[in-house]
């Protein structure tokens, strides 16, 4: 190919300037933090060529959780966790706060979506055999996430403080109390005393919006770390080896891909 020595045209110059203008802040950030490369490493991973739509269920669950977290933070700005005010503050959110009905609806229905997606995701992992070596630990983390999600459901159910919420929680707490040996202690801890009352509501609120979401966020980070470290599983009908090494480490003589270089999406394993 002959090298042309003609001066660049105006259009080419403008393009060069634009690329430089976009790259400058990214390079600045990358040089000081490595975050650009980190995000690329996280997003542009090699995955088996025959991954399946079912394998997006985990991302869908994460999205559902983010929706719950965002809407929950906004609801917390208007909700009052005291026996006298809880129900009326929920009515206020639904009837008077602008778009409150929508945010509360998203949180209420999103809760069910979150739980359903967790189960579907778990079913996919089970049917694909994606829990097998070396991914057993990620299954365990996932089970803990499921448990935390159910606890969110249990603690969140009380907060509207209507008859359904109150009696469902009475029954739920007393069900815990029937477990042998430790059950009565657990029930009394959840109740915040011998009787259900104001303390029960505030401690359920604290668990629902602080304690359990914190645990969920930590477990999700661990869950994703393991997914990135171990790679995405090929479907059972795949001809590729599940959990194969990344191409750059399999001794093919290639240099490791620079983290800042864009990696072709979805190219993993397909010859």
């Amino acid at each position: 190919m002959a090298i042309t020595r003609r001066p660049p045209t105006k259009a080419e110059l403008r393009k060069q300037q634009m690329v430089a203008a976009i790259n400058f802040p990214l390079d600045w950030l990358e040089e000081r933090s490595g975050l650009v490369g980190g995000v690329k490493y996280f997003l542009f991973r090699k995955v088996p060529a025959d991954t399946n739509w079912m394998q997006t269920l985990g991302s869908a669950t994460l999205t559902a959780f983010i929706v719950q977290a965002v809407t929950g933070v906004i609801l917390a700005m208007y909700y009052k966790p005291t026996p006298g005010d809880a129900y009326s503050s929920i009515q206020n959110i639904t009837d008077h706060v602008t778009m409150g009905w929508l945010v509360r609806g998203m949180h209420k229905w999103g809760a069910s979506v979150f739980i359903i997606l967790m189960f579907l995701h778990m079913g996919r992992v089970f049917l694909f055999g994606a829990y097998k070596y070396p991914r057993e630990l990620n299954w365990i983390v996932g089970v803990l996430l499921l448990l935390m999600g159910m606890l969110e459901g249990f603690t969140g159910y009380l907060l509207p403080w209507d008859q359904t919420a109150y009696w469902a929680t009475v029954v739920g707490i007393n069900l815990n109390g029937t477990a042998p040996f430790l059950g009565p202690w657990l029930a009394q801890f959840l109740r915040g005393g011998q009787e259900i009352g104001a303390d029960t509501l505030t401690r359920f609120y604290s668990m629902h919006m602080l304690l359990i979401p914190g645990a969920i966020i930590g477990l999700i980070l661990l869950h994703l770390y393991l997914v990135i470290r171990l790679g995405v599983t090929s479907p059972p009908w795949s001809k590729e080896e599940a959990g194969a090494d990344r191409p750059e480490t399999n001794g093919s003589g290639q240099l490791p891909q620079g983290l800042t270089k864009p990696v072709a999406r979805g190219a993993g394993g397909s010859k």
Partner: protein, 311 residues
Amino acid sequence: MPEQDHLPKPTVWPIGFAIGIAVVLVGLIVNPLWIATIGGGIAIVFGVLWARDATADLRGHAVAVEPERREAAAAPATAGAPAAGERFPRSKFLEFSTLGIGGLIGGVVTVPVAGFALLPPFLGQKHHRADLGPVSDFAEGQWYISTFMIDPAEGEVSRRTAFIRNNGTLTVGGKPQPSFTIISNRCAHLGCPVQANGPTGAILGMKTITEKTSAGEIKLEPVVPAGFGCPCHGGQYDTEGNRTAGPPVRGLDRYAFEIKDGRLILLSTFSVAKVDGTGAQAKIHKYKSVGPGEHVDGWEQILYPLNPPHH
């Protein structure tokens, strides 16, 4: 090593173990003391044999490997002895002191926080006293559905319901004493509100009595109950609170009471296994207050999800 070696060799011990567990389960129904104990013995014996078999390979390897390790460890024992003055190097000292001080700070912060998080539900629980107004409001032999607050400072959330019957005067050792049957409406299954099965108030042509006392507004609604029933899961009780049907594990709780200046004061609740007899002649098998769904009559009862009716 070939893949199959990770699996334990097949054994017959699990069958004996399973038989033992089956005997335990049958024994818990038939005869917890003897049959279940025998079943437990069978399960333990076969379980141990099974575990021995399953881990035989592992233990075999450990025996083969251990002597080598000892030799390897014995060699540096002399060579690795620190020189004089190096017995406790500076870097080690700094490492241990960082860990120690860090642990101390962590403990100082964690202990009170953990205590604050866990202890309040168990310590310093209030003893409630609910003033239900003058005893003369309660006609002798008549049941009342009574609602009151056990902690007016907490508000309506502390409103409770009890079924109360004035049994008249009972003479104990020559001293006349008032007798009341005061049954809590908290179901002994999972804590739902038990309802009186029978006509109330207006149907009977009787007025609901209201009083203002230190326990908030008191309502006494006359009722003629054939028994009590729970709307949640169908638990049924007779008029002494004995379980007659459904999932509850014991009878209904009762309130302790005292009469002060001619007024009926409700004290804490206590739990009841069963009641023999009725009214003033009732013999109450009472226990300390426990939560719904918890057995009170014998430790082994905790293993039973269900109990035959007390009658």
